[in-house]
C-alpha cells in the first residue's frame, strides 16, 4: 500500500513538473514570435492611389500592411512577385485588417488607369490591395531612406515584401521568391493580428 501511495505521489509530482515545463516552453515560444524586430517607423509620405484618392502613411496606420515596390511594364521579377502578393491577397480575403500596398517605381509610365488595369489583371476586386503612384524623387527617397532598400530604380528595385505594423513601423523583410520566407510572413502577420 505504501508503495502504491508513493507511486501515486511521484506520478502527480511528475505530471506537475511536465505541466510547468510545457507552460514555460509554450510561453517562451509564443513570446519569441511576438518579439518581432522593429526597424523603426517609415517616414511620412503621401501618394495617389489608382482610384485617385490620396494615400500615404496615415492611411496605412491602424492596419497591417504588406508593402512592395514594382512597375507595371517590368517583365522580370515583378509578375512573379505580385502573383505571390495576389496569393496572400486571396488568403486574407476575410480580413479588413490586412492590406497590401504596391508602390510604382515608374510613375512616368504607370498612370492611374494603367495601375487600375494592372490591379484587375491580378484579380483585385476591393481596396485591400492598393497601388500607389507618386513623384519619382519621392519614391526614390521612400525606397532608399524610408524602407532602407537598395537598388537603382526602376529596373533594380527590391523584390522584398515589407511588413509594416499598425503603428507604421517596419517589422520585417520577406523574400517573395522563397516559400519559407513567405510562410514566415503569414506566421508573423498572425502574431501581429493577435496583438491588435
Amino acid at each position: 500500500m505504501k508503495n502504491k501511495i508513493s507511486g501515486l505521489v511521484s506520478g502527480i509530482i511528475a505530471v506537475f513538473f511536465l505541466a510547468v515545463l510545457a507552460l514555460v516552453v509554450i510561453d517562451s515560444a509564443n513570446k519569441s514570435r511576438y518579439d518581432l524586430p522593429d526597424y523603426g517607423s517609415i517616414p511620412h509620405f503621401q501618394f495617389i492611389e489608382r482610384s485617385g484618392i490620396p494615400y500615404g502613411k496615415t492611411e496605412m496606420e491602424g492596419k497591417i500592411n504588406i508593402v512592395n515596390f514594382f512597375f507595371t511594364s517590368c517583365k522580370g521579377p515583378c509578375p512573379y512577385m505580385n502573383s505571390q502578393v495576389a496569393k496572400l491577397y486571396r488568403k486574407y480575403a476575410t480580413s479588413q485588417d490586412v492590406q497590401f500596398v504596391s508602390i510604382s517605381v515608374d510613375p512616368q509610365r504607370d498612370s492611374l488607369s494603367i495601375l487600375q488595369n494592372y490591379a484587375t489583371d491580378f484579380g483585385v476586386t476591393d481596396n485591400r490591395w492598393l497601388f500607389l503612384r507618386g513623384p519619382m524623387d519621392e519614391v526614390e527617397i521612400l525606397s532608399e531612406k524610408g524602407f532602407m532598400l537598395g537598388g537603382e530604380l526602376p529596373d533594380l528595385h527590391s523584390t522584398k515584401l515589407i511588413l509594416v505594423d499598425s503603428a507604421g513601423h517596419i517589422r520585417g523583410y520577406y523574400n517573395s521568391y522563397n516559400e519559407n520566407s513567405l510562410e514566415l510572413l503569414t506566421i508573423r502577420v498572425r502574431e501581429l493580428l493577435k496583438k491588435m
Binding site: K4, A22, V25, A29, S32, S181, I187
Partner: protein, 308 residues
C-alpha cells in the same frame, strides 16, 4: 547472468522506458510550440553543433529572418534528449546481446528497439527537410509509440524472468487478450486520426490564417467528429475490458487505470473543443494517448505471464 547484472539491466530498462515517455512529451511540446523548424538543417542547427544565440553569429548562407533563438533551442534540446534516449536504448540492446542472448523474447525486441530508434533519428531529419509534412510527423509519432511499447515489454519480461516466470500458453486468458488487442488497434487508429485532426487544423490555418479558437474548430469538419465518436467507442471498450479485469485480483489497479486514462483523455479533448485548442492541452492530449498505449501493453504482457 548474475543477479547484480540482472538488477542493473532491469533498472536500465525502467529508466529507458520512463525517459522515452519523457521524450514523447518533449516531442509533442516541440510540435505544439511550433518549434519543429526551429533548426532548418539536421543534425546541426544553423550549421552549428551548438546553435547560435544571436542572429549576428549565424554562419553565411542562413537567413537571419528565419532565425529565432528560442525555437532553435527548443528543437535542439529535443534532439539532444533524443540522442540520449537513443544511447539508452542502444545500451539496452547491448545488455541483451551480452547477457541474455538465449532469451529470445528479450533479445529480439531489444534489437528491434535499437533499430527503430536509429530509423527514428533518420526520420527526424526527413521530417525537418520535408518542412513538417503531416504524414511524416504522424509516422514519427507512431514509431515512437512502437519503441516505447517494445521497451515496456522488455521491462516486464525482465521482471518475470527474474521471478522465473515464463509466458503462459496462448490459450490462457484468451478472450480477454483478444479484447486487449482490439483495444490496442482502436487506440492506434484513434491516434492516427488524431494526428490528422491536427494536420487539418494546420491546413485550415494555411488557407485561413485569420481563424482562431472556436471558428477554427468549426471548420475541421468530419474528421473531428470521427475522432470524438471513436473516443467514446474506445471508452466503452475500455470499460468492457476493465470489467473483465476486475474479476482478477492482480489486475484491479490496471482495470481502474484503463478506464481513468481514456476518461481523462476525453475530458482533455472536450476542453480543447470548449477553449479553442489551447497549446498546453494539446501536449497532454498527445502524451496521455502514449500512456494509454503503454498501459494496454502492460496489461497484455501481464496477461501473457500470469493467470491473474
Amino acid at each position: 547472468m548474475t543477479e547484480k547484472k540482472m538488477h542493473q539491466f532491469q533498472r536500465l530498462s525502467v529508466f529507458t522506458t520512463v525517459a522515452t515517455f519523457f521524450l514523447i512529451f518533449v516531442g509533442g511540446l516541440v510540435r505544439v510550440s511550433g518549434a519543429g523548424l526551429g533548426c532548418p538543417d539536421w543534425p546541426k542547427c544553423f550549421g552549428r553543433w551548438i546553435p547560435p544565440l544571436h542572429a549576428e553569429d549565424l554562419p553565411a548562407g542562413f537567413d537571419a529572418q528565419s532565425f529565432n533563438v528560442t525555437l532553435a533551442w527548443i528543437e535542439y534540446i529535443n534532439r539532444l534528449i533524443g540522442v540520449l534516449v537513443g544511447f539508452l536504448i542502444l545500451a539496452t540492446a547491448i545488455m541483451a546481446i551480452l547477457y541474455l542472448r538465449r532469451q529470445r523474447r528479450i533479445l529480439i525486441p531489444a534489437i528491434f528497439a535499437a533499430l527503430f530508434v536509429a530509423f527514428q533519428g533518420w526520420l527526424g531529419s526527413v521530417v525537418v527537410s520535408s518542412l513538417l509534412e503531416p504524414l511524416l510527423v504522424s509516422l514519427h509519432l507512431l514509431i515512437a509509440l512502437l519503441i516505447v511499447s517494445l521497451l515496456i515489454y522488455i521491462t516486464q519480461a525482465l521482471h518475470y524472468l527474474k521471478d522465473g516466470l515464463l509466458p503462459k500458453s496462448t490459450a490462457v486468458n484468451k478472450p480477454l487478450r483478444n479484447w486487449i488487442v482490439i483495444l490496442w488497434v482502436v487506440a492506434l487508429f484513434q491516434i492516427v486520426i488524431g494526428t490528422q485532426v491536427r494536420s487539418q487544423v494546420e491546413l485550415i490555418l494555411s488557407d485561413f490564417p485569420l481563424l482562431f479558437g472556436l471558428q477554427l474548430i468549426e471548420r475541421i469538419g468530419l474528421i473531428n467528429y470521427v475522432h470524438s465518436i471513436l473516443g467514446i467507442l474506445f471508452m466503452a471498450l475500455s470499460i468492457i475490458v476493465a470489467l473483465m479485469l476486475f474479476k482478477k485480483s492482480e489486475f484491479r489497479i490496471l482495470g481502474v487505470v484503463i478506464v481513468l486514462l481514456p476518461l481523462l483523455q476525453i475530458s482533455i479533448g472536450s476542453a480543447m473543443e470548449i477553449f479553442g485548442i489551447p497549446a498546453l492541452l494539446q501536449v497532454f492530449h498527445l502524451w496521455v494517448a502514449s500512456l494509454i498505449i503503454g498501459v494496454i501493453l502492460i496489461i497484455f504482457t501481464q496477461l501473457s505471464y500470469t493467470e491473474g
